[in-house]
């Protein structure tokens, strides 16, 4: 097994050109090292460490846009002033991932590419309508994160590709957001269900646009368009938040069918959607 630590993206591309598909990209390694210890893990001969590539280690703004390099670790996002100001739901999501040790090491790119259904950054990025940039030795492409995943643990990435950056529009002052995570304990726990919500609210408290993205609820990440369209145009109220929760629960049953966990999840998802909406509306909540 060989290990490479390219210093820039061109060097990484050359390595991929030479070695893919017998190569594997490693960043923080917090998922990959666990995976590598499994007896049935198909070991790749060449390990390409992208953590030290400078261009992947930047958080920047470009006009209305925020751009996050894929090798940025969760702790940086949780504490970064630009993210806290313009996408607070993403810093909230990153601040509850794993433990401090994991947040110091795990990257946003890794969280996306690993495509675990309970990944905490993904609902937030879907609600932000983020786009991801993917480069290969010969070309690069940019796709919406909503079309990045095929199914849990499977993405559109090819073996010679690197996810390099994530970009999304900054939230305006009239866009309020929240991220809520339900887990078996308060810290160092995997999400059972998580919800990202963004509400665009007019001066007279009318919802102009609603975005709701749950994690671990549907087989793949999807926004709850039924609940979103129900909310838009309505005045903020407890009742409509409650109804949006019920619509989401119904949608879940429609998609996944009734399972052993449905009696629990049905009422919990309804309550969580409502809670996330109340959190997003903040002091505007009637």
């Amino acid at each position: 097994m060989n290990y490479y630590r390219p210093k820039n993206i061109d060097e990484a591309k050359r390595l991929l050109q030479k070695f893919a598909p017998d190569s594997r990209i490693i960043a923080g390694g917090t998922d990959l090292l666990v995976e590598m210890r499994h007896a049935n893990y198909a070991l790749k001969e060449h390990l390409i460490d992208i953590l030290k590539i400078e261009s992947l280690n930047k958080i920047s703004e470009n006009g209305n846009e925020l751009i996050i390099g894929s090798a940025i670790v969760h702790d940086q996002i949780a504490n970064h002033p630009l993210i806290k100001r313009f996408a607070p739901l993403l810093s909230a999501a990153c601040s509850v991932i794993g433990s401090q040790q994991i947040r110091n090491r795990g990257t946003i790119g890794g969280n996306i590419c690993n495509a675990s259904p309970c990944a905490d950054t993904v609902p937030a990025l879907i609600a932000l309508e983020a786009k991801v940039k993917i480069v290969s030795p010969r070309q690069e492409r940019e796709i919406p994160i909503s079309s990045f995943f095929h199914k849990p643990y499977h993405t559109v990435m090819k073996e010679n590709e690197i996810l390099t950056e994530i970009r999304f529009l900054k939230l305006n002052d009239n866009q309020r957001c929240a991220f809520y995570k339900l887990a078996r304990r308060k810290a160092l726990a995997i999400s059972r269900i998580n919800i990202a919500a963004i509400l665009k609210i007019s001066k007279d408290h009318i919802i102009e646009e609603a975005r709701l993205a749950p994690g671990s609820v549907f087989p793949t990440w999807t926004r709850i368009s039924d609940a979103e369209s129900f909310l838009s145009g309505k005045k903020l109220s407890d009742e409509i938040f409650k109804e949006a929760g019920n619509i989401t629960a119904q949608k879940m049953i429609e998609v996944s069918g009734r399972r052993w966990s449905t009696p629990y999840k049905e009422s919990v998802i309804a309550a969580l959607v409502k809670r996330a909406l109340v959190m997003a509306a903040g002091e505007l909540t009637p």
Binding site: Y3, I26, G29, D49, Q100, Q101, I102, N104, R105, A187
Partner: protein, 161 residues
């Protein structure tokens, strides 16, 4: 195999290690620093916590190759000239150690917390050690030990002012 250079507790170490070897294995097996414990090996128990370039990490989830060039602090490097670190003393004074298996990681998480945030409240302390599991003494004494150092520092700071 790959050649790496680490600065461990201030000592420069040049080593040749297999690519798949973790930082934890290098510390324990090659350098004999067994203060860093092997626990769950999936990043949940925190027994293998070390401070790498100023940040706590689970050394079981870091390849030694990835640590090439890094500065590592393990529990063995905390005492200076035979004098215990204030947190080590506080753990003893507050009976925050029973079997001792979680202690090295627990103390390094606390060291890192007090560097980021010299005056944490109880909630912040509990959050900071959330990645370190203790299965015997319980967390109360541990939290109190960390709190006592934070309070003492606050007291010392106000004396300076």
């Amino acid at each position: 195999m790959i050649n790496i250079k680490l600065t461990v507790n201030g000592n420069i170490c040049k080593l040749t290690v297999p690519v798949k070897m973790t930082l934890l294995d290098v510390l324990r097996e090659q350098l004999g620093l067994t203060g860093t414990k092997r626990g769950c090996e999936i990043g949940e128990c925190g027994a293998c916590t070390v401070i790498m370039n100023g940040k706590t990490v689970n050394s079981c989830l870091v390849l030694a190759a990835q640590a090439d060039g890094a500065k590592i602090l393990t529990i063995e490097g905390l005492a200076e000239n035979g004098k215990l670190h204030p947190l080590q003393k506080a753990f003893l004074e507050h009976d925050a150690v029973q079997c001792g298996f979680c202690t090295p990681g627990m103390i390094l998480s606390a060291v890192s917390l007090l560097e980021r945030n010299p005056h944490p409240d109880e909630y912040e302390i509990r959050q900071a050690i959330a990645g370190n599991l203790c299965r015997c003494t319980g967390y109360k004494q541990i939290v109190e030990a960390i709190k006592s150092v934070a309070i003492k520092r606050k007291h010392d700071d106000s004396n300076i002012l």
